[in-house]
């Protein structure tokens, strides 16, 4: 035997070490990749990286098996002549042929009607480029996956506090003492959160998890509060009720930093009803909250302008202005709103005992009030008050999809934002902290196009494909108020659909509602499987033909690195590279990886050459941009401007000479500038030398209270992060929502919704949060479907990505439907039995697994373990397609027609967020003679040209030449 300690691992071959960024999930940890003889030997966390600090997760450590997966596509593929779409019969073609085909088709579309090209992407981490491409092409039909992921979390909090969780901000667990985690998926910001939670617990913090299911992080919570899905809003509103009634809110914070004390017009006959009373027209119209509203000064018993020095205004009360207008403070309106939301009421909705709700409210309130953190960091606010210290309350929250993926999620998340604000924990130590480029103005400045006139043949789109409407005039609708986008985002149906509604694109395009399209390009999105609701029907729509025998969606392009279920439905397949074979940027223009202490962005630098003919999707876009002559991608003479994507990243500026580009670090000719500066031709080298990231730590006095921190806001303005150094006061009361409500009521001079949508807009655009049953419940008989069904994310899997991974799939080879044993007792079946789970929209056969760690009215399963037979290069009889199942078959993408004739998306009526977790189901035993396999089943996919043959029996991976 060779002594294991004798030879260094590095001496067993030619060893190279390279730094890049992980992409096994969306977390974007820094990794160090060691190669032996050109093969990946191992991947570990980069110890110097601010995000993951050297650690790595199960997925990250299994990157080898992704890199060498037999599911890799390696050649451009074209649907065989005569083959039907969906059959998966392809022939390999050259890139030249693929580009010719695409440029010809897209060129024609652009010249005629750019709307007929739709580009939708999954978890791509390059929205800065894909969005730019769509805008340059001139199509409004672009979005990434946010609409069916967590847009409610982004919109609900950004419209309330100017920032949100995950990429935008998070809990400061280093200083918190009490931490509430509500409905959090384990894949969001996973390693940093794991690091923070374990430190928090070791430091003696108290961790409360509120979730219908106890898995993942909730497992190590000090208290688990099981709650019925879709009722978190009721819980949060009851907590707010209790905090206000016991006086456990932070009055100073509310007065100084929020609109809580501002006076709201209460004259029901006024066009200004529900709007803040303003004393003068602001000198400059801009994308910020002008400081021209009123407080009520009890000392002189009259209104005064907000932030008048020396005034301690009323936070509560109803008053009459000198002109007779009745007004109330916003906080008074909030108090009245939560009056009926008592803990007793919430107990009936949520299933959480009223005593628990009260106790938790007191824990929050008393901890926040009595355990203040004061850091000796002087700072100056935007009203020029100098503060000797930064003060915070050590109560932190984290929430994600569990709150977001409901049709009532927007208001639930507004309630969470308001709760955090009541406790005075916005950008304070121990509370919620922003990450650059947040906070943003409420709402952020980018606006969608205003109407069909912004879409012009052969021209760049007017406005951004995605933006943040501040009032009805920012909607993207035509004269009749009809949507202009294929997904109906920014229409009256989903006015604040700031991430689009990718989950309705195929259905709408198939229906031709609002219009038919020609080419649908999907990048990295598994729309024929786990990324669609109503999967079976969506697959049918993709293959459906009109009366002339033409496909209703004429041309589908799929760009992916792997043989996903969606690949079978493509007319043209573009093989993407893996993350180890490409350049990428985690850009300040998209969602960087910033830390609480300042901006951070990062890059991927290839550690391996592309396999086969794989080409990074960015290169495809740069090539197409040049061939189509899109202005940003060509020189003035029409010639190609960028050699390749790395060249683009270095040289592209948001506007000529703006000095703002994709990467913030080492800008300027000499690399001595950051954030803003001339392009630096050696920027990639500098990132490479620094381990693949750029981290700028702000001066300490700029690190907190950034919504109102003069120093920070001035710095942010100087560095191009924002245009205005104005305060970003938290919106306890949302005047923006009230503007939409007024429009629906026929008031004001803005655009008005079509008749059929007036009631909907008026009801849901409430300036204060409220709780309503998820929309699907209106159409579902709770007696017939007594259970709610949700999915959870297993930590060693990222959506559908990892069943192809020989190591990870051994951990989750198939999935069960988890349920409380009482569900089995009621249905007379046993643990492990085959059962049907059925919703009004579909049914799936699966295996039951009993658990005591679930709210008894909820059933759940792991997300996206179930696969289509043969997909992802798995054997057609692999567990994933035989025992594993997909819950999506039970979820509808459209609700039944409402009384006004509307067939709305099964989404939040404010933001268009997909209501994944609203579905109600029943579970019953499968009959004795039924097959012991999941249903529905689909014809198996086959190996495509260019794919490697999967090893059948043994895989004995050893890195290096001849596996020495």
């Amino acid at each position: 035997m060779q002594d294991p300690t004798e030879i260094s691992d590095k001496a067993r071959g030619h060893t190279e070490v390279k730094h890049t960024t992980c992409y096994m999930c969306a977390c974007r940890c820094g990794i160090r990749v060691t190669l032996r003889d050109g093969v990946v030997r191992y991947i570990e966390g980069n110890p110097d990286h601010p995000l993951n600090q050297g650690v790595i997760c199960a997925k990250g450590a299994s990157g080898i098996m992704k890199q060498y997966s037999p599911a890799r596509l390696t050649r451009p593929l074209k649907r065989k002549p005569g083959a039907e779409r969906g059959e998966g019969r392809f022939e390999a073609i050259s890139w030249e042929e693929a580009f010719d085909l695409l440029a010809e088709r897209l060129g024609r579309i652009r010249a005629e009607d750019p709307r007929r090209f739709a580009l939708f992407t999954g978890r791509d981490q390059m929205q800065a480029l894909t969005g730019l491409f769509a805008k340059q092409f001139g199509t409004p039909n672009y979005a990434a996956h946010g609409g069916f992921c967590s847009v409610n979390m982004a919109a609900g909090l950004i419209y309330t506090i100017g920032g949100s969780f995950w990429e935008f901000g998070g809990p400061d667990l280093d200083r918190a003492k009490l931490f509430f985690m509500i409905g959090t998926a384990e894949d969001h910001h996973s390693n940093p959160l794991k690091i923070a939670i374990s430190r928090f617990k070791r430091d003696g913090g108290r961790f409360v998890a509120i979730n219908p299911v106890r898995t993942g992080y909730a497992a190590i919570a000090d208290e688990w509060v099981p709650i019925r899905p879709g009722t978190d809003g009721a819980f949060l509103l009851a907590v707010i009720h209790e905090l206000i009634h016991t006086g456990l809110y932070d009055r100073e914070f509310l007065i100084r930093y929020t609109n809580a004390p501002e006076l709201v017009n209460q004259d029901p006959d006024s066009d200004e009803f529900g709007m803040f009373v303003r004393f003068e027209v602001p000198p400059e119209e801009g994308c910020f909250d002008p400081q021209n509203k009123l407080w009520w000064d009890p000392a002189v018993d009259r209104p005064v302008s907000t932030h008048t020095p020396g005034v301690d205004p009323r936070l509560l009360g109803a008053f009459r202005l000198p002109d007779g207008t009745p007004v109330k403070t916003a906080f008074q309106l909030l108090m009245e709103r939560v009056e009926p939301y008592t803990p007793q009421w919430a107990e009936g909705v949520t299933g959480v005992p009223a005593a628990t709700i009260r106790r938790l409210a007191y824990e929050m309130g008393v901890t926040a009030r009595d355990q203040k953190i004061e850091l000796p960091i002087p700072w100056t606010d935007v009203w020029d008050h100098d503060h000797e210290s930064v003060v915070g309350s050590p109560v932190a929250f984290h929430a994600m999809r569990g709150l977001a993926a409901h049709s009532n999620g927007f208001h639930t998340i507004r309630a969470l934002g308001i709760l955090m604000t009541l406790l005075g924990t916005i950008d304070t130590p121990g509370g919620f902290r922003h990450k650059a480029p947040f906070p943003r103005p409420i709402p952020p400045c980018a606006k969608p196009p205003k109407g069909p006139g912004d879409v012009r043949p052969g021209e760049v789109l007017g406005g951004m494909p995605l933006g943040w409407p501040a009032d009805p005039d920012d909607l993207f609708v035509d004269e009749q108020g009809r949507p202009v986008r294929i997904d109906k985002a920014f229409s009256w149906e989903y006015p604040l659909a700031v991430h689009g509604l990718m989950h309705n694109v195929i259905t709408n395009a198939w229906k031709g509602d609002p219009y038919p399209i020609d080419t649908l390009m999907l990048f990295m999105a598994n729309m024929a499987w786990n990324s669609s609701m109503n999967t079976t029907e969506v697959r049918r729509m993709l293959t459906d033909k009109d009366e002339n025998g033409r496909y209703k969606i004429p041309f589908v392009v799929v760009a992916d690195a792997f043989e996903s279920e969606t690949v079978a439905f493509a007319d043209l397949v573009l093989p993407d590279t893996t993350y180890l074979e490409r350049h990428d940027v985690m850009s300040m223009l998209d969602r960087p990886i910033s830390e609480y202490d300042g901006p951070v962005d990062s890059v991927r630098i290839p550690v391996l050459p592309p396999k086969g003919e794989c080409k990074p999707f960015q290169e495809v876009l740069i090539e197409l941009g040049a061939r189509l002559g899109l202005p940003a991608f060509v020189n003035e003479d029409g010639s190609r401007k960028y050699k390749d994507y790395p060249d683009f990243v270095v040289r592209y500026e948001t506007a000529p000479g703006s000095g703002i580009g994709f990467l913030a670090g080492w800008r300027g000719k000499n690399g001595d500038r950051f954030m803003v500066g001339e392009p630096n031709p050696r920027q990639w080298e500098r990132y490479e030398q620094n381990g693949g990231f750029f981290h700028y730590a702000l001066p300490r006095s700029f690190q907190y209270m950034r919504n109102w921190n003069k120093g920070y806001l001035t710095w942010a303005r100087a560095n191009g992060l924002t245009r205005y150094a104005e305060p970003i006061n938290c919106h306890i009361y949302s005047e923006i929502l009230q503007k939409f409500r007024l429009a629906a009521q026929g008031k004001g001079i803005t655009r008005k919704p079509p008749e059929a949508l007036r009631e909907r807009v008026e009801y849901f655009f409430d300036p204060l949060p409220f709780w309503h049953e998820p929309l699907e419940s209106l159409y579902t008989d709770p007696k017939r479907y007594p259970l709610r069904a949700v999915t959870q994310r297993p930590m060693p899997m990222y959506h559908s990505w990892d069943s192809q991974n020989a190591w990870l799939r051994q951990i989750h080879t198939h999935n069960h439907l988890f349920m409380h044993p009482s569900v089995g007792r009621a249905g007379a079946f046993d643990d492990g039995d085959w059962v049907w789970v059925e919703s009004p929209w579909g049914k799936v056969r699966c295996m039951a697994r009993f658990t005591e760690a679930v709210e008894p009215g909820t059933v759940w399963t792991w997300n996206a373990i179930g696969k289509g037979a043969g997909a992802w290069a798995l054997h057609p009889k692999a567990n994933e397609s035989q025992k594993g199942f997909l819950l999506n078959h039970l979820i509808t993408e459209e609700l039944p027609e409402d009384p006004n004739g509307l067939r709305a998306s099964n989404s939040d009526p404010v933001t268009g967020q997909a209501g994944w977790y609203d579905v109600r189901v029943r579970v019953y035993k499968a009959a004795e003679g039924e097959p012991r396999a999941t249903e529905p089943q689909f014809p198996p996919m086959k190996r495509l040209p260019g794919m490697d043959k999967a090893p059948r029996r043994w895989l004995a991976f050893v890195a290096g030449l001849k596996g020495r």
Partner: protein, 243 residues
Amino acid sequence: MTQLALVIDLNVCVGCHACVTSCKEWNTSGWAGPLADFNPYGPDPHGTFFNRVQTFEVGEYPNTMVVHFPKSCLHCEEPPCVPVCPTGASYKREEDGIVLVDYDKCIGCKYCSWACPYGARELDEHQKVMKKCTLCVDRIYDESLPEAERRPACVLACPTNARLFGDVHDPDSEVSVAIREQGGYALMPEWGTKPANHYLPRRRTELRIRPDELIRADNPLKKEGVPPKPPKDQPTLDETTSW
């Protein structure tokens, strides 16, 4: 005498399986490799792993505790697997107490696995020899690595730092202090195997809010000209007495 070991903190383990695959990744191309997989893309895949994370539910709804439980070779101080080995392939290293298998001597008789109450040994069905955790013996002494990285792959990977590594015979080591001060325990102590690996138990932090903390001099409602009133349904003398 040194006894290297892992101490696994169940109080912070979230069950992410980072230790599982980082172990596989290091070891499959390392001294102990390959760690082969059977049916890697087919039905019922299974392969050799040195470390598994299991999940247990303790108690009944709603007082359910979920325990994620990583399990690998415990490197017992009295390893029952070693003396039963007929070839001497299984051995305990004198210098650091790591229990190893010499893959060149192992005949794959599986007898050592019968003699391990913990199920820590797995037969590699590709090489037909018994395999198990080596505490990354081929990395922890590698002087070409920075000192901080001379630790097992699972320890370096663990995002919650739930895996501590060190000499349990050194009373001042991080692991010994953790065992001593945080109630570290051994698995199946009834067998006298003296596992070197230890586990740290769950601990619960509670917060007690005393009623008087809710009666506050700083109650902000007082500043609103509306002093807090008792609830309307609170009984008073008004309803019961008429004097």
